[in-house]
Symmetry: C2
Subunit: 543 residues, 2 copies
């Protein structure tokens, strides 16, 4: 046994990988989530808040996301020896709830959920073991209309949160189309869907690396294999060139369509130049383009989705599952078009994240504006939400297949994006500070504070010890817009002094000449009876 | 080792003592907490959201609340063998945060926190192992003004949540006054404050049972001991009758004042009848009563607090700590009076809950309206919040005494109270249902749904399978106010059918005659182009 030690003071710190959120960090997130869930509510989704703790068997031991196979959960034994654990996402609890309460829930069941989840993984910079998720799912609806609804709702939610239209796009792909391509190239036999799973896994992992390795790297991984910069060799899927070409045509279809689209526009703008290569699609897209006289961006998107399904039909020809998948994408595109979302929702087979996990359509919301990253490079902000269709949500519990589709917003990612968007415009609102000049007049200062609060202003009386300089320093730290001072002399005259601290800070930083200083006095006197109005006017002046 | 079993399906259930919250349960709580934290924000309090997981040493192993000595925490070991645990309240994390970030936080630091906490205790009916707390604390302010502010803020928060003025009262006591009484009766020696702690513990536990055992029971426990109904004997504190009398005078001071108050009123209303017994106080209270010509209830409260401090001064005479305590109560009462809270904030020595834990003033918010309990008896709703002053919040970490004061609202209790208050008036708002008559017209139904949503209405298109009867049943389960029906016939005529489901339900329940049925048609036709207006009008008719 270890020797007994003298009791020592506990360390004041969170466990590794956990953190606290202060002030505006909390309110900004709460406001964003309120805006988003307001949209979810309007779409008929009901809130669900499940227990943070689940039985380990209800969670399952592993995360379903193939991207992170080593992630674990925080688990411990209850007094009766049964294992319990903190939820690692909001989907596993939804499955448990739906299996448990199915008879008492409407079908389809639309629900949203917001809250922290916990992952027992190695913490790193910016990588925490507790973080927020914000999910919306429809359980029990097999219709692509449910997928389309999720995409439209996601677009509305992003706008409600503060992302402008034009600054985001919802990209949509379909696992079934990839399965169709796999079938056509001989990697999937519909009569024996288990066979070749390992080979398909290699293909999936290869195309998931498109962003990082580029087209040539993925081609190498689909073929013989790839030697990386360190000289290590990764064995490939060993596919033949035609197989590789078809898979790459699927993954690269977006680029093809972009080129076709440019050709199409050129064709109609310059009457005939370029574009003959894809004549049939061109003509059809052109018809659409000419026929519907909506805004150009919406029209281009419609044409784009139309062209895309043409290409995909060609790639999966002969595969029933593939045809079904393309048909679903067409339906989703049509429904989104009918609701006016065609300019923001694009069919895009380069969306590969999640293709291993989901069983049908997959969605990703990408922010298209540029930011400067840590290394000073300009790049697109990127993905802030993802989701898709899964059909075995509750099967683990009930043995029955239950269709479901949903989306999860990356709360911290989206918050970071909003901070980029608002950079410099938002300021946490500090309280008006009522200073304490005379300790035996607390009741009067307190009454002033109460008056300000009753008028809806955020206000504090100084509760610490210290002279006026210390109190004004406190006001500065609190970001107070105004400080109020009343000494015996002011009280005798029935007035108070108001210091415009926001202006004081700006004056010090901006104003150059004495005349400007005088024109914008940072301190003024107001009648005690007009306190609230004077403070409101001073704050308005600074806003 | 156990034999290997066939894999079985996991059970779809929460661990023992945990639960889920659905729909309105989530939104009602969120709205209540939003109203409350809005008040906290106006008072200058900043939100703090700490990690749900703390190191076990930062939490300490036991709860500080003497009422529940056996409660534990949910704890487990991290990979590096260090212990971590779920927080059991929001105060221990505040202590850790303040010790950790003191230099970067304003002093005084006003913070509020809202979130779940976890207790590893035996679950029972209505007793869960995860529940919400909502706390506000001021750290680093020794002034009774900080305590007064907490009491005023608590009153405002209750009103913001929906408790009417007159339906609640904030009761205030002070541990120091009890300590003064203990000193006067010889149970506490200021020169040796540790001595006699066990005996004082017996006294504290005895007076904590006042509600349950009544005055005679507590007197027995302060004296020789008490035999309960089963015949079991609990040994008493063994105090002499004078000692017991003084302690009971302290605990019962509220009743004494109530009697004096009635006497006082009688004295002034009937010119001289009754009340001579407490003449000095009576006269003083009477002066106050006559001098300040405010509303009667406020005036009575002022008089009441005034009388109370008179009595308490008498009980602690000769004890410095006791005098300090009474002085603090007087200051708090004056400050609350200056802010207009005297009618809702009462000094009340019968508040004993928390006296063992806190070091100075303690507060309790009590709802005074009556409810019918499980056994059909009428009783006051009772306590929904409590708090007080503690002076060793961060000492465990830093070795320094740091004054703090705060309050915790019992979230589930207050929610239950609000449900009582609103009984029958609030209804969860179900979505308008756009039914699907023709499967190949989804895009048009979806567009209708989008129009309704864009107009701010909560709306859904039916996403499940089934005929019109099934769809209307779904609408019923969802609490939909209106269902919209459009078949080919309607489409040809450019109209839609609107079913007033809310009215339908009321009609079936209330309306007796055929004429009334006809006057209030539960179904009507509207032009497709006027869909939004027609739905809004129908909902307004039902509201």
């Amino acid at each position: 046994m270890a020797k007994e030690k003298k009791p020592r003071r506990p360390k004041a710190e969170t466990p590794r990988g956990f953190r606290d959120y202060f002030g505006a960090e909390v309110t900004e997130r709460a406001e964003m989530l309120r805006a988003i869930t307001g949209v979810y509510h309007r779409y008929g989704f009901d809130p669900l808040e499940t227990s943070a703790v689940e039985t380990l068997e209800a969670l399952g031991k592993f995360l379903p996301d193939v991207d992170r196979p080593n992630e674990g959960v925080f688990a411990w034994r209850d007094e009766d020896e049964s294992w319990m654990a903190l939820r690692y996402d909001l989907t596993a609890p939804l499955a448990r709830v739906y299996a448990e309460h199915q008879l008492h829930l409407p079908t389809p069941y639309r629900r949203y959920a917001v809250g922290p989840v916990w992952r027992n993984e190695k913490p790193g910079p910016g990588r925490f073991r507790q973080f927020y998720q914000c999910d919306a799912d429809t359980v029990g609806a097999a219709s692509p209309a449910a997928d389309a609804e999720i995409c439209a709702m996601l677009a509305d939610a992003l706008e409600a949160a503060g992302i402008a239209r034009g600054d985001y796009v919802i990209r949509i792909n379909n696992r079934k189309v990839l399965n169709g391509v796999m079938e056509v190239v001989g990697l999937l036999d519909p009569a024996d869907p288990e066979a070749g799973e390992a080979a398909r896994g290699v293909v999936l992992r290869a195309i998931d690396k498109l962003d990082r390795l580029g087209e040539a790297g993925v081609r190498a991984l689909l073929g013989e294999g790839r030697k990386d910069e360190s000289g290590d060799f990764t064995k490939g899927a060993g596919l033949a060139p035609e197989q590789i070409n078809r898979i790459m045509s699927f993954v690269g279809a977006s680029k093809t369509v972009d080129k076709m689209l440019i050709d199409t526009q050129a064709h109609f703008e310059n009457k005939g130049s370029g574009g003959t290569e894809h004549f049939r699609t061109l003509r059809d897209a052109g018809d659409l383009y000419a026929r519907r006289k909506l805004g150009i961006s919406s029209d281009v998107s419609q044409a784009r989705n139309y062209m895309m399904t043409e290409i995909l039909h060609g790639l999966v020809e002969g595969s029933q599952v593939g045809e079904d998948g393309v048909q679903e994408l067409e339906t989703i595109a049509q429904l989104l078009d009918a609701q006016g979302y065609a300019d923001r929702a694009l069919i895009d087979p380069s969306v590969v994240r999640g293709l291993g996990y989901y069983t049908g359509p997959v969605f990703e919301a990408e922010l298209t504006f540029e930011i400067t990253d840590e290394e000073g490079r300009r790049r697109q902000f990127g993905s802030v939400a993802g989701g898709g269709r899964y059909d075995d949500l509750v099967m683990r519990f009930t043995g029955q297949r239950t269709p479901g589709t949903g989306v999860s917003i990356g709360v911290d990612r989206l918050l970071a994006a909003l901070r980029e968007v608002r950079r410099g415009t938002a300021q946490a609102e500090g309280p008006v500070l009522v200073t304490v000049m005379e300790k035996d007049r607390l009741a009067e200062y307190q009454a002033m504070t109460a008056e300000l609060r009753a008028a809806g202003l955020r206000a504090e009386m100084f509760l610490g010890g210290g002279n006026m300089a210390k109190q004004l320093k406190y006001a500065d730290r609190r970001g107070s817009p105004v400080a109020i001072i009343e000494g015996s002399e002011e009280r005798a005259r029935g007035v108070v002094q108001l210091k415009d601290l926001a202006l004081g800070a700006r004056l010090a930083a901006e104003i150059e000449t004495n005349e400007e200083w005088k024109a914008q006095p940072a301190q003024m006197e107001a009648p005690r009876a007009g306190l609230v109005e004077a403070v409101k006017a001073m704050i308005a002046r600074g806003a």
